[in-house]
Symmetry: C2
């Protein structure tokens, strides 16, 4: 079984998203989809993913894996460590595909379905190895959003679940282990509740699609992106506590607020009303343009949460840390290799001068990490502060370009540290900017300069020899 | 009627949020609440708001208005332009408060209720000036989230609605005009649908509070914070179009996915289960700490959307633009006065060096704006690019401090521009950093340097004389 090889069965938006996430995390991918359009569809999703995913990280992702289009299911699943099924949402079709997969795949490979509605026990019906099968339900865009609902049935093996969690986490997903199987898992049940109420609001002429979207994105959507429902309400409950807050809701839940007791009939009229409203709201942008807008917003918000080390941003930081390697310190070293994210550009269409400063600040951090200044060293009360920088901006840099920094250690003596950085474009090696940087070692207690302690002092001594 | 004076009736979390939003936008506020705890409660909300709201803007907000605690309702509402009622959610109480208000307030003042459930026509019952009354329903934290559901009844005057919209927009709200009144307006109907389904998931042991929150904030919560429901689904529908996508939903809506046909009974057992799960999830943090966490995340995400000029960020940019004044160019000028946001600090607990660079980059932009380089000038194909900066970091700067920059124009000759900036702390005038900056005027078409055109060339000529 190849430890970093995955089979993707089905190449729609969801299958393509799985493929992109694995490929960009350095996995080889076997794709099987008899659809003659598969190659075109995949290349569109991949283009989006290559634009957006690398922007989430302050370091380069591993080199892309190899993508192989396989004419047969058999060829696709043979010897792989993980198989993700994303064929259309018909139970008999999925059961048939699973039977074919299990006839050829390793018994210990993870075998997961993207189904949004079916339970794993339904997928397992008729299987000769039901213990291998589970649901791993992702969210669009799969290459950016971390959530995967991992739903086993009682028949699914524990070892299988553990393997799936490890693999999903290693490519940046958050596997949410759903303890009990249920139709539509968790998130889609919540989504459907809102969708149904939204249909009523439109049908009754209370609000149109744009007004409903604005009611979400200017209000509770912003709350939910970072805390969800219950933690938000815990705050609303205040000092009185959660039990008091919920008990208050008793009468409200019985008010005649919503029409949720009933399902609106999707007549042609209602379908056309919604489609027309949506055209008015978003018709000026193509689907591709909307995707780019969505992805750029997601990248910017997830990077903001990353900077706060909170919610989805905390997941990205943990993923990044799992990939980071600490180099040995040396006089000359490569300190940065990364992608330029969309939130770094300004009205001139290029990377703002302050972000050059950020890259060089990160380059200095890489040197300090190599010298042994880790989180524990800072937590114990010492760090380096930058005293002066001189930056020369030589070439423009744009969003989604790959850049690197070579750093020379000019001086490391007592509390002084002088660095010279060169920022280059990866594609052609062009020199983009230079930076001379002067740092002082400080006590975080007195906020005054002082000589470094071990292991930093040691590393500097060894370097000097 | 005092054009920038508001009366806040009721000082809970919602009333306090209204108060803070108006006060920090330069309005004088009369507060009336007979609760002896009112002063303490308000001061807690104000402390949160003073920490968070100024961080949304790249400029200083107006000087804070004057807060007056009024012993009587009569004193609070006399002569004000806007009155916001946020008393407990009991219809008879609200009707009584409205009668008292209307006995003393100007007939042309906006008179709005924060009610989350009642319709304006219900609030208007028995009023002798029903045309003055409407619902303006905000979302917690009111000082940060832009959404206000503005719900008039048929009796509410158009002039009154227009006045309310103007005032709300001027303090950074997004008034969503709900065309038809309905119990619980729009957003709370969607929220209640999810809340009800969430209760079922807990009751049936499918997921606990933390798992449900994670299912939201790692997945669709991130989508909804920027696009909402329908635009997100428009993308999911792809090229086939929205009508095709919705029609597909027909059968799914009738699947036995959710228990929404029924209301779970809030037994003591269920209430305690939820409270216990919430304690396990978030009990390590006090409500104050959770509020700070929430607000810092909101600030960071809203600033990210602001940088993308999208969703809630677009609203903040528009609000900021409405407040900005362009100064006459001069040899020495104050170019920046602003607050340091939470997303500008690093592991040393102070403002990262790159953000000093950003402040100086913004200072240069202010000079260029004063010289006549506006959006039209850039759109027509010319701009200034920074060629070199030299920054000396003299003192540390921390989140939520107010800073300012004084800029001297050292040289403006042909295509060259040299600036010297001094960044100072507002509270004590301490010099925090200096920056020498060298810029060149460029053609955005050729990306090469060239002499500036009018009106920039003119402004430089006049300055030289």
């Amino acid at each position: 079984m190849n430890q970093k090889k995955v089979a993707i069965i089905g190449s729609g938006v969801i299958g393509g998203g799985w493929l992109a996430r694995f490929l960009l995390n350095g996995w080889d991918v076997n794709l099987h989809d008899p659809d003659p359009e598969a190659e075109r569809k995949i290349s569109e999703v991949l283009a989006n993913a290559r634009h957006a995913l690398p922007m989430l990280y302050e370091m380069a992702l591993p080199a892309e894996g190899k993508l192989t289009h396989c004419a047969t299911l058999e060829k696709a699943v043979r010897g792989v460590a993980y198989i993700q099924e994303s064929v259309p949402e018909r139970l008999e079709l999925k059961q048939e595909v699973f039977a074919n997969i299990q006839a050829h795949c390793p018994a210990e490979a993870v075998l997961a379905s993207s189904t949004s509605g079916f339970k794993p026990s339904e997928l397992q019906q008729g299987s000769h190895r039901p213990e291998q099968i589970m649901v791993c339900h992702p969210f669009n865009p799969v290459y950016l959003l971390p959530l995967v609902e991992l739903v086993p049935s009682k028949a699914t093996q524990d070892a299988q679940i553990a393997r799936a969690k490890d693999i999903l986490t290693s490519v940046g997903f958050y596997p949410l282990h759903v303890q009990k199987e249920i139709d539509a898992h968790i998130a889609d049940r919540l989504l459907e509740a809102v969708w149904r109420e939204g249909l009523w609001l439109i049908k009754d002429g209370i609000a149109n699609t744009e007004e409903i979207d604005n009611a979400i994105r200017y209000g509770f959507g912003l709350r939910w992106a970072q805390m969800g429902l219950f933690e938000t309400y815990r705050i609303a409950g205040g000092e009185a506590g959660m039990a008091h807050f919920i008990a208050q809701f008793g009468p409200a839940l019985k008010w005649p607020w919503t029409k949720l007791m009933d399902v609106p009939e999707l007549t042609d009229d209602l379908v056309n009303t919604i489609a027309d409203q949506s055209d008015t709201q978003s018709g000026a942008l193509s689907i591709r343009a909307l995707e780019r807008l969505r992805d750029n917003n997601l990248v910017a918000m997830m990077r903001a949460l990353k900077q706060q080390d909170s919610a989805a941003g905390q997941l990205i930081n943990a993923h990044e840390k799992s990939m980071r390697q600490i180099a040995k310190p040396s006089q000359k070293m490569q300190t940065i290799q990364r992608n330029v994210p969309v939130d770094w550009t300004d009205y001139n269409g290029h990377m703002n001068e302050s972000r050059y400063g950020q890259v060089f600040s990160d380059a200095a951090d890489a040197v300090l990490t190599n010298l042994g200044m880790d989180e524990a060293y800072v937590a114990a009360g010492h760090s380096y502060f930058t005293v002066e920088t001189n930056i020369k901006y030589l070439e423009e840099t744009h969003a989604s370009e790959d850049i690197m920094v070579d750093t020379e250690l000019l001086l490391a003596e007592g509390k002084k540290l002088k660095l010279a950085h060169q920022m280059k474009r990866v594609s052609d090696g062009a020199l983009l900017a230079t930076c001379d940087q002067f740092l002082l070692h400080v006590s975080l207690e007195t906020r005054s300069s002082c000589v470094p302690l071990s292991p930093v002092a040691n590393a500097i001594r060894i370097l000097a020899q």
